[in-house]
Subunit: 556 residues, 2 copies
């Protein structure tokens, strides 16, 4: 790769054509700066995989030039990959005070806190890596202390928005630096990278403050305990829940590890104000009259092991949801989580609770943290970029975002719809997308990277659909003859007695072995292939199923 001072290169290691594992890079001269390092959660096809993080092979190969990881905000899809990244590439990490608090929780869990270099920045910070200057601007999102980033190079400025919405009446003073954005735009933006999550949704995102009134009304109306769930990191929402509890004289108990951890960071670092004595321990819940209690818990996405799911099935030790308790979902379901959420709602109804969950869109106690079309157009207008890369979204979102850019005057040909790994090179003021770097998914299973790839996943899929038949052959090493009847063992295949089929399959196996032996073709690979083929066929003809066939040879 030619590295000259006339060339800026921009690419994503994750975050394009997907929701999650955001990781972007800016290369100028001899320096690479990384933006964010997130994870994403696997869909059902990736059986048994816990997390997906970006493949950072390219960065490892160029590790002498990687100067820093700058983190825009503390959501999992922007910080969840950091521990795995730092284990392999220990570079300085720059983030705001609140974001660092969340990163520290993660690094502690991975026992990495001591050797990591964490550097606090704010929207006034200025950094320098080689000839590349870096400055910041505040954006509003559904978590405190979010940044957009400006990379200053002699060739022009590159802006990365981070995740954002425009909320003119945010909670807890989380305003956007609109004036600063206007100035950046005025100075000239060569390339804008802007997030696309809600590029399909018309209009402007509602303000977070609209939630406050609904929360107050719901708390006011509640006859007994209030159980309320939201994203732990949405501190503005948590603040409004605290306010509603205060107005209705309720104490708050926190349930769920991430709720306890994140609220502690938010209070300690000054992002959340909770009146003295309001927080109670979960053991105290039953000592107070139910109309004096609110429980703030994790699990708004229906996560099966989170507090709310356990409460809804009566499996939370010491705390019961009783008739006339009020349960509030103060978060919308992320696509894919709907079924888990509705099954919890059903369980809560079965317990006799009143459930507020946004059945009609009017009653939904949630607003998005990601800007709708008008928010995105405002950002595009303020920045007025020459080139544009829509980031942070699936392909249809990137396409819609391109149309928005066109509508405010960005030339269609100046927008790049890219894949992870595609590189935009800007040279002599002209941007081109012609080459790519290696990228991919790295799977985390059981807290560890790797070990799980295509073969393993293919086997897991086949087994999960039709189970397995193990065929054991015991043969004499000397003569290549069967020492006993073949044995067929099933797992995940059939519940009832299958002795007749088993006898059949054992006979079939014996026949195959004997025939191949006569033909002198009883080498193990031939045997294996023929047994697999014949057993598969027989089982499919009889039962229309395709279990995995595992022949095992024991030679004695």
């Amino acid at each position: 790769m030619s590295v000259t001072e006339n060339l800026i290169s921009v690419f994503a290691l994750g975050g394009l054509n997907e929701i999650g594992k955001n990781m972007y890079a800016i290369e100028y001269s001899n320096d690479i700066v990384i933006i964010d390092c997130g994870n994403k959660f696997p869909d059902e096809s990736l059986l048994g995989i816990d997390l997906i993080i970006p493949d950072i092979t390219y960065l490892i190969e160029n590790k002498d030039r990687v100067r820093a990881l700058i983190v825009t905000h503390g959501h999992e899809d922007h910080i969840g990959g950091i521990p795995f990244f730092l284990k392999r590439l220990n570079v300085p990490v720059y983030a705001t005070r609140f974001t660092l608090g969340l990163i520290e929780i993660k690094l502690k869990e991975h026992k990495l806190l001591r050797e990591s270099e964490l550097l606090e920045i704010n929207s006034h910070s200025k950094l320098k890596f080689g000839k590349m200057g870096v400055s910041f601007f505040k954006v509003t999102h559904s978590i405190p202390d979010c940044l957009g980033i400006v990379f200053q190079t002699p060739l022009g400025n590159i802006v990365h928005t981070g995740d954002f919405k425009f909320d003119l009446t945010p909670v807890n003073n989380q305003h956007s630096d609109i004036h600063k954005m206007a100035e950046i735009g005025n100075e000239g933006v060569l390339l804008l990278l802007s997030e696309s999550t809600n590029a399909e949704r018309p209009g402007l995102t509602p303000s977070e403050q609209t939630i406050g009134e609904q929360l107050d009304a719901a708390f006011m109306k509640a006859e007994r305990k209030v159980i309320i769930s939201t994203f732990a990191s949405n501190i503005s929402r948590v603040q409004q829940i605290v306010n509603a509890a205060q107005k209705t004289n309720r104490k708050i108990a926190l349930l769920g590890r991430s709720m306890v951890n994140v609220v502690a960071v938010a209070i300690e670092r000054g992002y959340l104000t909770v009146p003295d004595g309001m927080l109670i321990d979960q053991n105290e819940i039953n000592e107070l009259p139910p109309e004096k209690v609110a429980i703030l818990c994790t699990g708004s996405q229906g996560e099966p092991l989170a507090a709310l799911a356990r409460l809804s099935t009566g499996n939370f030790r010491g705390i019961d949801i009783l008739p006339k308790d009020t349960v509030i979902f103060a978060a919308g379901p992320i696509p894919g989580n709907e079924r888990n959420v509705t099954s919890i709602i059903d369980n809560l109804y079965a317990l006799g609770a009143t459930v507020i969950y946004g059945s009609g869109s009017s009653s939904r106690i949630h607003v998005s943290g990601h800007g709708y079309q008008e928010d995105l157009k405002l950002m595009l207008t303020l920045m007025n970029p020459k080139y544009f890369i829509p980031i942070h979204g699936e392909l249809r979102m990137l396409h819609h975002h391109r149309l928005l850019a066109e509508s405010i005057g960005v030339d269609r040909g100046n927008t790049f719809i890219m894949n992870n790994g595609d590189v935009v090179d800007i040279e002599h003021g002209i941007a081109r997308q012609t080459r790519n770097i290696p990228v991919g998914n790295t799977y985390v299973d059981g807290g560890e990277i790797g070990n799980v790839g295509g073969f393993v996943l293919r086997d897991r899929k086949q087994f999960s659909e039709d189970g397995m038949l193990i065929i054991v052959l015991t043969m004499s090493k000397a003569e290549g003859k069967l020492l006993s009847e073949p044995e067929t063992i099933s797992r995940g295949f059939i519940d009832s007695d299958f002795s007749e089929l088993r006898r059949n399959l054992n006979q079939l196996t014996t026949k195959i072995v004997n025939e191949l032996q006569e033909e002198n073709r009883n080498q193990w690979n031939v045997l294996k292939r023929e047994i697999k083929k014949s057993i598969q066929q027989r089982v499919f003809n009889q039962m229309k199923r395709k279990p995995m066939i595992v022949p095992i040879l024991i030679e004695i």
Copy 2:
């Protein structure tokens, strides 16, 4: 169970607290009449299961009293279980002309058509089973020829609505019998069973006709081929697609088995009007100019093997989606299918197509076939029942439907929120829910009932998460000693070399066998238990995973 002429009993074998596998029963005196026999599709936790149908043990036990299966309409969740049901209980099946057409397709596939007794009815039919009269009324839904049912008994009338909406301007003359419903209500309804699918949604369902204008506009605007997908059974929608094609001078090719089958039934039986020469074979698509072609296909729910999914990945032989082709989703995603649908949309964008899929709710080319709150209130008002059982829905929907019944004057205590198997007995004009009959899910895997239950599913789940280790021991029958080193084989566990771990595990197994032998405890069940326990522990400590452990003993 006491059977007297003063007792009517009503229960569900499926359809309560779930979406799918609808099956309800009315018992009076010596007669049982069944309403519908649907299937439902499993969620991801039921690995490898193809279909779920109702457990009909109770009906088998009372088969001498089961007089008929009456089918309200031809959707899968009302007819999908019929072949499996008739194999075990061959009773007469009553349904309208169109519904029978769809049932016949199914019975043909199962080679059951000849021995089945299919009887055509319409909204004027009158049936009699013992002392129970049965009559019908037309309802509007998203499939032609739908019925509600009235059961007349000396104790009072029971009404089952079927699936319905009120559409005052339906397509193809599929009007509701509102006057007849009003009469039925005037005569007095002892008990109403009404469907609850959209009980959470405020307002009135939009008319199917509103779709027509949007379809016309989309066809008008399309520059090249139109590819459009909807539910095959939604003949009103298909009719409007045919109309739009006619107005824009396009021929239509049908893709996908169910689209071809259902459209054939609809044309043959007079429910769909297609101009002569409009339908073309898929081979003719490429012979016409693209602006003269529309392709109507299956796959609007993102089904991975359906026509649209294959088109979107370039895997449909002979037909390509090209830049400037227009793809229209004329159906909303059913909850749970969102991810499959959006991934197809992304693939279509990648091919350069224009995609119309209802990103903003305004542009959605779909209306529901299930009545919203105002539709449900109109039915409740017309029928004015003494007792009410909300059916066909998950628990939260049933709860919302109860509130709607209350709002039009049904006593809260007269509404029964029930589970499948709960029986409402009406005696001397008083309804009570005190007992239940056995019900459950019957799994279909590979076209066959049964064989797959708890153990199999548990194994499939464990394997799909962490794979399997098979430990093979070869021992001499006479001496109970190992004849060779134990062997460890993995599947779905690890991709990379695990020879070190394998050696470790083999040694561990040898140690266990030898120790137990010295203690004279080397019985196979003890060996198996100890091997499982130790191997599981060792693997978890080292890798934080819990594969299934399968010890296999070969004795020679």
